[in-house]
Each structure stands twice: as C-alpha cells, then as structure tokens.
C-alpha cells in the first residue's frame, strides 16, 4: 500500500509526487489521461515573480523560483532564467510600476525609456520606461512534469513513485473519518493519504469527498508564431496592464500580451483571460487582440505569421489564491489545486509544502491563506 495517492499528473501533481518521494514516502500518481495532458499542456511556462502583489502568493512564488532553479539540475527539460521586462506606456504607469517593485522586495532594475533598447532591441519606441526582473524564468512545463515524475522514480527506486496513466478517480475510500484511498475505474487504491492535484477539475474531485472547494475555469488563448531563425525577443516582455488583469475579477475578456521567444524558434503570445466555462470554440476577436498587443510591443512581428493557437482553462478560486494543505473537513485529503495562471511557476513550492505536511513536518510557509475550508464562511 502506498503512503500517498496523487490525483493528477499535471505539473502540480508531479511536483507533489516528486517531493513526497524525496521525503521518503511511497507515491502513486494517477491520471485519467496522459502525463501533462491537462492545463499543464496548455500553459505557457512562465515562472514569474514580477506580476505578484506582495503577500502570500508572492512568498510562494519566491520559494518556488528558487526550487525551480534546483530542479533544473535534474536535466530533461528546459529552464531558461531569461528575466522579464515589464514596460510602462506612460510616466504615471511607470511610477506605479516602480512603486510596486519597491513593495515587492524582489530583485529588479528600473529601466529608463532610453535603456529599453539595450534589453530588447526590437521593442517599439514610445514607452516611458520599465522594470526588469532577473528572476523571471521560463520552463517547458510538459517535459518538466514528465521529468519530475521520472526522476522521482529513478532516484528513489521505482515502486516508491509510480505513474498510472489512463486511470480515472471515481470516489474516495474511507477509514472511519479519514480518507484512506481512492476508487477508480481500474480498481481501488488504498493509501495513507490522498493529494487532490486535479487542477481545474479539483473542485469535482473535492466534491467526491463531500467537501466544497470552488475551482472554476478561466479560459486562455495563446498564439504561436512561425519559428524564427534568429531570436527577435530576448526576455519575457509585457505591459504593466498585465499585472492588473491577472488580479482582475472581471467576467469579460481581458488580454494583455506576454511576448517571448522560445529556444525552438516560435514566439509565444499569451494570454487572454475570460470566464466562459469549458468552451473551446475559437474566438477570433481574442486572437486579434493578442496579435494587436504583440505588434504594439514589437512592430517587427507584424510581418511574421501566426501558425497556431490553442486554449486552456486556468483553475481559479474566487480569491485568486491556490488551495494548499490538508482539509480539516476530510482528514487525509490534501489539496494542491486552483493555481490559476501561475500553476507552473508555483508547482515546486506547492509540492514541497504538501510533502512537508504529508511527512508531518512544519511547512516552510504559513498555509493559512491557502487553507481549503476558507470558502465556507463566504458561502
């Protein structure tokens, strides 16, 4: 019998499994699909500290940023510590931006208007300036998730970390009050504890255990360009509007393009945010807006082609914070979901903290802001 069953082989589940195995626990990861087939396969791979307001999410992001750098040593996936450049349209916005950077207390450099070209030679003129965040990085999320699971299995011996794809969790097993495993379409799996890392479907999984965890989809489209022979864009580049969009409560469509080159050549332009349930229908207006914003940032992109677009559904909670920790309403069930547009960046810290709680250690960060039952009082 494993110590832990992790539901979900996305990047968050992979990190939970990896760190739990590293803590000496026997882990089984189950996913109804393949590894990284959920939102992880639709994400962009930004590992950002620049876009977070000071507070618990930034603390999580900073912890995670350091852990990603360690994990990058594992080899098998790309991690590029390329840095992010946030640009401001007006002097007023620049002031707000520098103010935020000061409050964040993370490494940054304020870049005057005339200095932007040193960072991004192809950036449009006319920006008032910007802030450069050297800690912002890029990771290939699908390979990262697969690699964490594989390396976890390699390093600690197969059997202590096992991946079972194509297995759908249908309910929970109980041991008195405690959760003691899962039922699946391929039989029951008894375990000492269960981690709900089902991403956007985390609310459904929680409901199977009779607890309310409101995780909802927030759709995002990404545009991908033709591959470039020479890199046009060096860092992650976005306008200050991105920061306000991320934290927005609006139902409607919001776009603020984050533009960046990738080692294989294409430029990624992402992403939109809108709440339309799980609707995959292509929205041309969304693609048009992303294109417009990207061309405003980099006029040289106007002549290059978009060759594809894809969408995914960010798992979000009403207060835009993830759910991390054991559920007092269902002891033995640990949640690790609801990371919205930052799950890739926040995965290692989440995995690390979950492993600490699973192993009975005191977590490095206070988990109170992320506690799973925090939505009860608001119901």
């Amino acid at each position: 019998m494993p110590d832990v069953v992790v539901i979900g082989a996305g990047v968050v589940g992979a990190a939970c499994a990896y760190y739990a195995a590293r803590a000496g626990l026997d882990v089984v990861v189950v996913d109804r699909g393949p590894v990284a087939g959920g939102t992880t396969g639709a994400g962009e791979g930004n590992v950002l500290v620049s876009d977070k307001e000071p507070g618990p999410e930034l603390d999580l992001a900073l912890l995670s940023n350091g852990l990603w750098r360690e994990l990058a040593e594992l080899d098998g996936f790309e991690f590029e510590a390329k840095g992010g450049l946030v640009v401001a349209e007006t002097g007023e916005v620049l002031e707000a931006l520098t103010g935020l950077a000061g409050k964040q207390g993370v490494e940054h450099t304020v870049v005057p208007s005339g200095g932007l070209g040193d960072y991004e030679p192809h950036l449009a003129g006319g920006f008032a300036g910007g802030v450069f965040y050297p800690q912002d990085a890029q990771v290939q999320p699908m390979l990262a998730a697969a690699t964490l699971i594989r390396r976890g299995a390699d390093r600690f011996g197969r059997g202590t970390l096992m991946l079972r794809t194509g297995v759908t969790v249908a309910g929970f097993l109980r041991d008195g009050d405690r959760i003691g495993g899962v039922t699946t379409d391929h039989g029951d799996i008894l375990a000492g504890a269960v981690v709900n890392a089902a991403g956007t479907w985390g609310g459904e999984v929680a409901a199977m255990a009779g607890v309310h965890v409101p995780v909802l989809p927030r759709r995002g489209f990404i545009l991908v360009t033709e591959p470039f022979d020479e890199p046009l864009i060096r860092h992650k580049v976005y306008t200050a509007a991105y920061v306000t969009n991320v934290a927005s409560d609006s139902e409607g469509l919001e776009t603020s393009a984050v533009v960046e080159g990738t080692p294989s050549g294409p430029v990624l332009i992402g992403a939109s945010r809108e709440r339309v349930g799980f609707d995959r229908t292509v929205s041309v207006p969304v693609l048009e807006r992303l294109a417009r914003q990207a061309v405003e940032l980099f006029p040289a992109l106007a002549d290059r082609r978009a060759i594809r677009a894809y969408c995914g559904f960010r798992p979000y909670c009403p207060d835009h914070l993830p759910v991390i920790g054991e559920d007092p309403r269902a002891p033995g069930l640990h949640h690790a979901c609801g990371h919205e547009g930052a799950g890739i960046g926040l995965a290692p810290a989440t995995g690390h903290l979950i492993a600490q709680t699973l192993a009975g250690h005191r977590p490095d960060l206070d988990l109170t802001p992320f506690r799973p039952d925090r939505f009860e009082e608001r119901r």
Partner: protein
C-alpha cells in the same frame, strides 16, 4: 459582392463547383471561395493561361463537363479565387468566413453568408520512412500538381510507390509526359478491386486506360512492393524497394536508381474548417476522421454542409454528386422549392460503397513502422526522430496529443498535416480530427488589423 450571401462555398473542386451551381440554379445567392488562383481543385487542376494549351483535357478525364459547370457558375455567382480561408465562425445563423486574399501581399477579407458548404478536399497521406525528406522525394499528388498545374515533369527517372488506385494515373501521366518511370510499387495486392461490380460497370475503362498506358511505356507495376528507404547525398539518387509480406514486413530488398520518388498512402481530408465550427466527425473505413453528414450532406451544425473528400475520400465523380446533393439541401433548407431527386442519392450510395471498398482494398498495414530507424524523422518540420517519440511514450505519453506535447511532432509549420497520421499510428490510435483554430498561417499584422469585407479597399 454582397453583404450577406445565402450560401458560401469553400473549395472550387468538383464538389464545390457542383454544389455552388446547383444552389444557384435553385435560387440561392452564392459565393464560391478558393485559395487557388484557378478553379478545378486537385483533380481538375487548370493550367495557367500562359501555356495556351489547346488540349488541356489530355490531363484529365471529364474536364469538359467541369469546365461547362464552371463557366455557367461564373456567370451566375460571385467567385473569389486566390482567397485562403483561415477561419470560419458561426453565430446567430450567420457564417463568417475569414480569408486572406492574394498569394504574397495578403489582405484580410471577410465574407458572410447564411449557409456554408465546405468542399475543401484532401491532401496526400505520406508515411515516414528513412530518407523521405530528401529533395526529390515528392508526394504522388505533388508530382501530379506539378504536371497538371505547371507542365513540369517531376523528374527524369521516377519511381512511383505507395498504395491505392491513384498511383496509376500519376504514373501514367508521368510516363506520357516523358518521364522514365522505373516502376510502380503498390504495397497492397495489385488487383485489389478487379472483381468489384462497380469497377466492372464503369470505372474499368479509366483503369484499363492507365494500365494500357503503363504497358505501352513498359512500366512495371508490382503488388506487395514498397519503397522502404530513399538514399542520396543532399538529393535522391536511389531507393530501396522491398518485397513485402501481408503485414508489410520486408521479405527481400533491391536498389532502384532514380532521381525522383512520387509516393502516397492515400489521402487525408482537410477538416480544420468543419472542426472550427464544431461539426461532428467520424472515423472513415480507413480510420481517418471525416465530417459526419446525413443523406442531404448536412453536418451536425445547422446551415453547414460538407461534400467531396471532406466527407470521405471517394474521388472526383462522387465529389461532384455530393456537391449537387449538398447544394439542393442548402436551397431546400432556406425555403426554396427543390423537388426530390432519389436517383442522385442512389448514385451517391453506389459510389460511396465503391469508395469504401477501395479504402478496404488498399489499407495501410502496420508493417511500415518497421521500416523506420531510430533516427528516421517522423516529423519533418520539427525534425523529430522516431527515438524522441519513443522517449515521450516512455515518459508517460499514452496518446498522440501527449506525444506531441512532449516531443513536438506536429508543432511546426505544417501543424501535423504531414506527420499526424503516422504519429497517431505510432501512438496506437486512429488519428483525431485536427483542431487548428488557424487553418492558414496569417501575418500578425493582418490578424491585428480590423478585418474588411471584399467590398472595401
């Protein structure tokens, strides 16, 4: 140009032209859109004016009939050639067709209509094998397009290989045009359909014609043979031809010198536009996804019809019949009086049964996977070798999509059009209907600009 048409037809091949003409005769305001500068689609591909060809029909059976339809249509409907459709949307009973006009200075154009007929045809289905990306290796349809559309003979010494009856017109055309065709290698049995009633009934003449042409040019036609490797430094110089067993495993091999290989293992219907609209699809007899249609060629989305190869690969004659039925349905659904024509439906059923029999007689057998080596590229665009596909599977990719996510086959320029079938086979599944929200590459500057209708500058 009109602000709102009754019916927009995408594709000026036999299906689209017949559909547009039929709908127009039934009283609809029709616009026909095609990416190509000339009508005809793949089969009736037209030569440019510049050749002043006095006998263009020498390259196609039935060209006169098509040309008559085309001339009549041009007088009755609006025709937008050189318009690539990159997206279609449908809201509140109106279809919006987004096009790019022109082959280099593209301009965004938008056409709106109450109904849409999708007749976008198919492209070749190549299988990967060692050396398939050497210059000089072409798809069979590609060789045909060079000849029919440009009067360029694909090569001097040409080998034709793959499976299906389409190899015969390709080889015959090349031989007639002066190429030294070194052999036609059919991976299935040579006489797959010889005794099919329909072949006896009608198609026999055409097949015999190609056969006679090949005999006249002393072109050997071998069953149970395939090209399993192509060789050359920077360009093709020779191929390895294998005798196959019934599962397509090589039994013996030899070398054939050639500068060109034209090959194909069937066709892949182009489904990105119906998939964008949410039309239901099904697996055809060969496992390929095709649009699901009713007897009137209606898709699952109201007001959207499909005809020709998009509903299943069946050739030009079936495509035309389907186009006519679809045009009639579109008119009837918009309240025009269209008397029933059961004869047409029976004709379609017969031709479709024949098409199905063909797919069953010329399947792709699993043995081709054994022709690949670890370093054989599966995906040409992203240069993904077989070994990378296997590594992805080892990491937990259990389907084609996750293989793509981990190893990148299908992420490049062609968006999986060339490798999609092979990757699905390697992943052990039937190919899924392609989800390509952008059906044709579009410049970001054009995507960013507000779209204009053909009326405006």
């Amino acid at each position: 140009m009109k602000p709102l048409y009754d019916l927009a037809v995408i594709g000026a091949g036999p299906a689209g032209v017949a559909g547009a003409l039929t709908a127009s005769f039934a009283g609809l305001d029709v616009v026909l859109i095609d990416a190509a500068p000339r009508p005809g689609g793949q089969y009736f591909r037209h030569l440019p004016q510049g050749f002043n060809a006095q006998a263009p029909g020498a390259l196609h059976h039935g060209l006169d009939g098509f040309t008559r339809q085309w001339e009549t249509l041009r007088a009755r409907a609006d025709v937008l050639l050189g318009h690539k459709v990159w997206a279609v949307e449908r809201a509140e009973g109106t279809v919006t067709v987004r096009c790019l006009e022109g082959d280099r200075e593209e301009r965004p154009r938008t056409v709106t209509a109450r109904g849409l007929l999708i007749a976008t045809g198919a492209h070749d289905r190549p299988l990967p094998f060692p050396g398939w990306d050497l210059p000089g290796v072409l798809t069979a349809g590609g060789a045909q397009a060079l000849l029919k559309g440009n009067l360029v003979v694909a090569g001097r010494k040409v080998v034709v290989a793959g499976t299906g009856p389409f190899l015969l017109p390709v080889a015959a055309g090349l031989a007639e045009a002066g190429a030294d065709v070194r052999g036609v290698y059919e991976a299935n049995g040579r006489l797959g359909l010889a005794r099919h009633p329909l072949l006896a009934a009608g198609k026999a003449g055409e097949a015999l014609g190609y056969g006679a042409s090949l005999a006249r040019h002393r072109v050997p036609y071998r069953g149970r043979h395939a090209v399993i490797a192509a060789h050359g430094e920077g360009a093709l110089t020779h191929v390895t031809v294998a005798r196959l067993d019934s599962a397509w495993r090589p039994v013996s091999t030899r070398t054939v010198e050639c500068d060109t290989l034209a090959y194909g293992y069937g066709f892949v219907p182009q489904l990105e536009l119906p998939v964008q609209l949410g039309c239901a699809t099904r697996a055809d007899a060969d496992g390929s996804p095709v649009v699901t249609v009713d007897g009137g060629l209606r898709t699952s989305v109201p007001g959207v019809y499909a005809a020709g190869e998009s509903t299943g690969v069946g050739g030009a004659v079936l495509a035309e019949v389907e186009g006519r039925i679809a045009g009639r349905s579109a008119a009837a659904d918009l309240g025009r009086r269209v008397p029933p024509l059961p004869r047409l439906s029976r004709r379609r059923d017969r031709l479709a049964a024949f098409a199905k029999a063909l797919l069953e007689a010329y399947p792709v057998r699993p043995g081709w996977q054994g022709w690949l080596r670890d370093d054989t590229l599966v995906c040409r665009c992203e240069e993904v070798p077989l070994s990378a596909v296997r590594e992805a599977q080892d990491l937990g990719a259990i389907d084609a999509r996750s293989v793509k996510l981990l190893a990148r086959p299908g992420m490049g320029w062609c968006q999986g059009r060339m490798c999609g079938y092979a990757v699905a086979c390697l992943a052990g599944e039937d190919p899924a209907a392609p989800r390509r929200p952008i059906a044709q590459p579009i410049r970001l500057g054009d995507l960013a600009a507000p779209t204009r209708s053909p009326l405006e500058g």
